[in-house]
């Protein structure tokens, strides 16, 4: 089990650096911090299910709390500061946590708050390595973490991933990226499960975890200095982030000499981006991975070869991983090149949602399975993605249900109806969300109202109109609005 591996690394590689940002933290430091918080959490644990919420932005106290909870047999829910207060309050209601560990300031009521100062005080309690007696209490069937994602009813859905799910994933990830005592650059927020890949890969291989914080990503000039300085060997990111780095021609193998692996997941990797990455980094292994949060970060991955770049569609996985099949709407398995639903089967399928309909979680030939809503096909034993079956999109690296935005707009007093559409640039990348809204009374600022309930990346440009076009079934004709917007 990987918690045991982490424990071994604490002992064997104590002097090595784990966290490398403005400050550096060694495995020894982390070992002490985790043990202190573990003891504290054990003392507040109840019988039955225990969940803590861990809030903040890429601070070492967040990772400390993740591990302390896991070792103590407590489920954690990671939440980034980009999530707004109303959504956090909804999540608190859903899970009823034993504690809310706030590694950044936030004011909340009706929850057992462990403040920034308090968690630091617990972490920094002075102990010697000899005193530590850290025993993993997490069992394979226990829920390891719950990650919340946009839900089509307007309320976020909590995906429950077990220790067994995560252990299966980490084992396969270690086979895909063969490293030890390496340096891994992190892009994703800790509330996004892509970060699970880089955080835990670092921990199980006694490697350095190098997070890039939000403000630095916005500041291209200084971000570039930061990545040149850090000499990382592995980059885990979304394809949009690679595109962002590729803007600068100095992002190449002469300047980033140690880079060996780029692991991309969470978004479609276009042929253009794959080719450009390969041109700049001829010797680097470019890995494209695929999987929804519901199936533990990723279920399949593939090394991109020059041969693959000749085709427009870049594969997202390989049949040999044995984690998925393509089925029609009656769950009949389809032949090669036939287009159908991507059905994920096996150990990576999570325990489903804590607060939402489980319709997509099914049993297939006696095994746990998840119907992704992704449409794709298999060709020459590679898996290809075609499109979504529903209105889920990826925008700025976030997974968003367009219905979630509409539901939240419709809740605003004065709004009659709304339709959210996406606007794409010439490279087929979504660059804007636009909401067409009809009103039943005069209201002034819909955006500000909406910001109370949704994070910034989900706020569309609002266009108030007299009426929305409808189709024959009197449903809003999204296609027509989209055509109108994109013709402009």
């Amino acid at each position: 089990m990987f918690l045991n591996t982490i424990l071994e690394n604490f002992v064997a590689y104590g002097e090595k650096i784990f966290y490398n940002n403005e400050i550096t933290i060694t495995y020894n430091d982390l070992y002490k911090y985790v043990y202190n918080v573990y003891n504290y959490l054990k003392s507040i644990k109840n019988k039955g299910n225990n969940v803590v919420i861990i809030y903040g932005h890429k601070d070492i106290s967040m990772i400390t709390s993740f591990l302390a909870s896991s070792f103590a047999g407590i489920t954690y829910v990671p939440i980034d500061i980009s999530m707004n207060k109303n959504r956090i309050e909804e999540i608190i209601k859903i899970i009823n946590p034993i504690a809310f560990i706030a590694t950044e300031d936030i004011e909340l009521e009706n929850v057992n708050m462990i403040s920034k100062d308090k968690i630091k005080e617990i972490m920094f309690n002075d102990i010697s390595i000899e005193e530590i007696n850290l025993i993993p209490l997490m069992k394979l069937k226990d829920i390891y973490y719950i990650i919340f994602t946009s839900g089509s009813t307007g309320v976020p859905k909590g995906v429950q991933v077990t220790y067994n799910n995560l252990n299966t994933y980490i084992t396969s990830l270690k086979n895909t990226i063969d490293i030890q005592n390496s340096k891994i650059l992190n892009q994703a927020l800790y509330s996004f499960d892509l970060s699970v890949a880089d955080i835990y890969l670092s921990l199980v291989t006694a490697s350095e975890h190098i997070p890039i914080k939000k403000d630095l990503i916005q500041d291209y000039n200084n971000m570039f200095k930061f990545i040149l300085e850090k000499n990382f060997e592995v980059l885990v990111c979304t394809s949009s982030f690679i595109e962002y780095l590729l803007i600068d021609k100095d992002f190449n193998e002469e300047n980033i000499q140690n880079l060996k692996y780029i692991y991309m997941c969470g978004e479609v990797l276009t042929n253009k981006t794959a080719c450009k990455t390969h041109e700049r980094f001829k010797k680097v292994n470019i890995i494209n991975a695929y999987g929804p949060t519901e199936c533990t970060v990723a279920v399949t991955s593939i090394y991109i070869t020059e041969e693959m770049l000749k085709e427009n569609n870049i594969p997202i996985g390989k049949k040999a991983d044995n984690t998925f099949i393509i089925v029609d709407d009656e769950y009949k398995e389809l032949e090669e090149e036939e287009i159908g639903n991507i059905l994920i089967i096996g150990e990576l399928v999570s325990n489903g949602y804590i607060n939402s309909s489980m319709n997509n979680f099914i049993t297939y030939k006696g095994k746990k399975a998840y119907l992704t809503g992704d449409i794709g096909f298999i060709k020459n034993n590679y898996l290809y993605y075609k499109c979504r079956k529903d209105r889920q999109i990826k925008f700025k690296g976030y997974r968003i249900e367009l219905n979630d935005i509409e539901e939240n707009i419709n809740k605003i007093d004065g709004v009659n109806r709304s339709a959210v559409i996406v606007k794409k640039d010439s490279g087929d990348r979504i660059f804007k969300l636009i909401a067409y809204v009809t009103l039943n009374k005069e209201i002034s600022n819909i955006e500000n109202e909406l910001k109370k309930n949704l994070p910034l990346y989900m706020i569309p440009t609002i266009k108030v109109v007299k009426e929305l076009p409808v189709n024959n079934n009197f449903k809003v004709d999204i296609k027509r609005i989209e055509e109108f917007e994109n013709e402009k």
């Binding site: 291209y220 200084n222 640039d425």
Partner: protein, 78 residues
Amino acid sequence: MKNKIIDILYEISENELIKENSEIDLFEEGIIDSLGFMILLNRLEEEFDIEIQPSQIPADTWRSVDKIAKMVEGYLEG
């Protein structure tokens, strides 16, 4: 030049503020984020036929229309 840049920023953000007051801080007002930044660079490169290297440009250039205009002029003059 400045007007062209304002047009591009408006096209990206559809935020009226940029038309009303070109002195505003583009980051503080949320006119551009990292995605907007990518599109802005693309559009500037197309429009003025230049190649911009963001790693060479001081961070606060991107906060103001005037500074962006000066930067573009710098590229045009070689």
